[in-house]
Amino acid sequence: MQTKKILLYLLTVLMVTALVLGCAPQPAATPAAEEQKPAEEQKPAEEVLPDVIKIGVNETMTGWGAAYGDMTWKGIQLAHEQKPEVLGKKIELVLVDNKSEKSESALAAQRLVEVEKVVAVIGVNSSSMSMAQNEVLDKAKIPSMATAATNPLVTQGKPYAFRAAFIDPFQGEAAAKFAVEEMKAKTAVLLVDIALDYPVGLANYFRSNFIKFTGNEKSVLAYLSFQTGDRDFTAQLTQIKSLNPDIVFAPNEYAELGAILQQAKQLGITAKFLAGDSADVPELVQIAGENAEGFMYTAQFHPDAFTNPESKQFVEAFRAKYNIDPETFSVTGYDGYMLLRDAIERAGSVNGDKIREALINTKFVGARGLTQFDENHNAILAVPVIEIKGGKKTFRYLVEPQ
């Protein structure tokens, strides 16, 4: 009985503390109150900016996407460090972790809008989670800037959703183009993680483009599948070995990719492996070791891929701050922040509709050169292809957008 009382007491104390911490009045509450009204209402003739402009960051900091979320956050933080203010006010980043879960992503977005009262949200690097979040944000008329999420459905039909990356229809086309024209591949097999949106979508786009570029309907020999978390791919790989394609397109998460590459080498498979930007993580090479030799993938970034001075500056600053090279996820975080900030600057306001207008008219030179958005608010960018040579990422080729 005593213990129960103590526990109850502790629980109450905890709850109260968390309540106080969580719902503490925001410093900018009073002058900002007018700022958060929905767009329809009459705004005062002169908009009063809050003392601190809050931008939400919704990322996969834990769960299977932890690596991606972490790297994206690094990019965002670097950008924030370089440009911490806009319109003369400080920018405050509010980070929430969605645990790589869709339901959490939606809840996190809601919290950012309702409790933290952010003016915009950066994230998520994962398409599934971005889609969940954007349902909430679009309804609230809060602009969102997805980071490395590449599925077209993230922005489709959502006026307030933008994305600092190219989309899978283009990535699939770029990969197929590279495979057919540079790798001279005539046959391919798809090895897909059907438990996630991204691999399924990208594989589909690759398939249709590969068939188009080879002009041969039968050039994709098979579509093999597995589920996230699987570790043994002998079954699929032995099938691949007997089909003997020129390349295997496996746009999966890096942990499974590492195991796939290792087991493929063990089985003596000679086909080349090609993947998408989810492979752009240092752990991949660490896990696969020598088996990653010759492995290629499309990515959002490579330090050697873009030649404009902003790109060089970004690479150097990133190296100096973190001691590692930037890649796909950090660049989308960095550019995402910069693009949003630039739009707020040009809009001269933190109003959702004005930011949105400004974003549509973006002509910003970021770490990947001149960045603009197409009619679906997706960034029009070139796709670098990276090859693993001698255990290192080497820049191989750049596929330009149309």
């Binding site: 213990t3 129960k4 526990l7 109850l8 629980l11 905890l14 709850m15 968390a18 309540l19 911490l21 969580g22 900091m61 834990t62 932890a66 509010v94 980070l95 929430v96 972790d97 645990k99 879960e101 869709k102 339901s103 939606a106 809840l107 996190a108 809601q110 919290r111 809008v113 309702e114 409790v115 599934s128 889609m131 969940a132 349902e135 609230a140 459905l153 059907i194 438990a195 996630l196 949106d197 399924v200 979508g201 589909n204 589920q227 996230t228």
Partner: protein, 356 residues
């Protein structure tokens, strides 16, 4: 002629009306964020109450909750999504003709979800409830996972592991509160009836119960079916609130979360279950602050993601070790208790609460 309703009944009915009126106001008067939390609270309440029925009252430790909730969730999603939305969502395989062109309103969809879950509950329960202890636990866990895996693999019906998006928000706080009220009322009626007493008898000593003429199979199965029905309803509402479903939501971790709440509240107390569901939901949100980076008294706290789950796991361990009866033990809320407390400060003598 009507019996004059007792004071308790009047008060309880009044409370229900107040709650429902509150829900109607709240739908437009409160932040969507708070509404979402309240919705989740109600859904968890239903889940915990169902678990209390099957475990706290009947003594059958079943881990099938997640799978049964999945059935309700998918039924409601598939029935309420418009045919166009289905065409858009189904990426792995075109939607099966069975579900491609149907669109039902919420109430029949929800009811069907509950009924299907109850049916599956029967299919699971009939053979499984013969077993005891560990074996029952394992079998029910196995069934829960089988359901989930089948949902993952029937791509033309469920869109496989990618799940369904854009489930229309046809319900509202009134629906969830209403459903919670109904669930609690029905389960409570069941518990206080002679059926309920038979169930408690089974919990205490099956052999004695059988000797007293209690049909073990019938009673256990009916309890399980009732429990499953409400789990299905809760699952359906869950899909409504979230707007998306995918099989990953319905892993055993969901069942363990329900168990955590049930233990916290007291496995034999519906009131406790409702309170615990609230604590869990609210704490889940409030604890986000400890996961996010922030300035604490001038110190740059980097944020520790994962702390929320760690907290709940630790809480469950501490509960099970030191406070197994939870908050309410076997006690339920009663109006008498409330009034006697307010009447006198030394209310020990006049405290009357139902023990069960």
């Amino acid at each position: 002629m009507f019996r004059r309703p007792s004071k308790t009944t009047v008060l309880t009915l009044a409370a229900m009306v107040v709650l429902l009126a509150f829900s109607v106001w709240a739908e437009h008067g409160l932040d969507p964020y708070i509404i979402r939390i309240l919705n989740m609270w109600c859904i968890y309440t239903i889940l915990v109450a169902s678990f209390n029925l099957i475990y706290g009252i009947t003594g059958q430790f079943s881990l099938a909750h997640a799978g049964l909730a999945a059935i309700g969730a998918y039924t409601v999603s598939l029935l309420t999504l418009s045919p166009e939305a289905k065409q858009l969502s189904f990426l792995l395989a075109p939607p099966s003709p069975l579900i491609a062109n149907v669109q039902w309103p919420l109430l029949p969809a929800l009811l069907l979800g509950g009924v299907l879950a109850a049916l599956i509950g029967f299919v699971i329960g009939a053979p499984a409830l013969r077993l005891h202890g560990d074996y029952l636990l394992i079998v029910t866990l196995g069934f829960s996972e089988i359901i989930r895996l089948i949902l993952v693999n029937l791509s033309s019906v469920t869109n496989g592991a990618m799940g369904l998006k854009g489930v229309p928000y046809l319900s509202s706080l009134t629906w969830t509160i209403g459903a919670a009220i109904v669930a609690l009322t029905v389960i409570r009626r069941l518990i206080t009836s002679s059926y309920g007493r038979a169930l408690m008898c089974i919990r205490e000593d099956e052999i004695a119960a059988e000797a007293l003429g209690v049909n073990l199979f019938r009673h256990k199965t009916i309890a399980f079916v009732f429990s499953s029905f409400f789990v299905g309803i809760a699952g359906g509402l869950y899909a409504e609130i979230l707007g998306t479903v995918d099989p990953n939501t319905f892993r055993p971790a969901l069942t363990y979360a329900v168990i955590t709440m049930a233990i916290l509240g007291g496995i034999r107390s519906l009131t406790g279950g409702a309170i615990a569901a609230g604590i869990y939901t609210v704490m889940s949100e409030l604890l986000r602050t400890v996961e996010a980076p922030q300035m604490i008294f001038g110190w740059d706290y980097p944020g520790l993601p994962g702390l929320r789950q760690l907290f709940f796991a630790t809480m469950l361990l501490l509960l099970i070790l030191f406070a197994r009866k939870g908050l309410m033990g076997s006690k339920e809320f009663s109006w008498d208790w409330l009034f006697s407390r307010s009447k006198s400060s030394d209310s020990k003598g006049s405290e009357r609460s139902h023990e069960q």
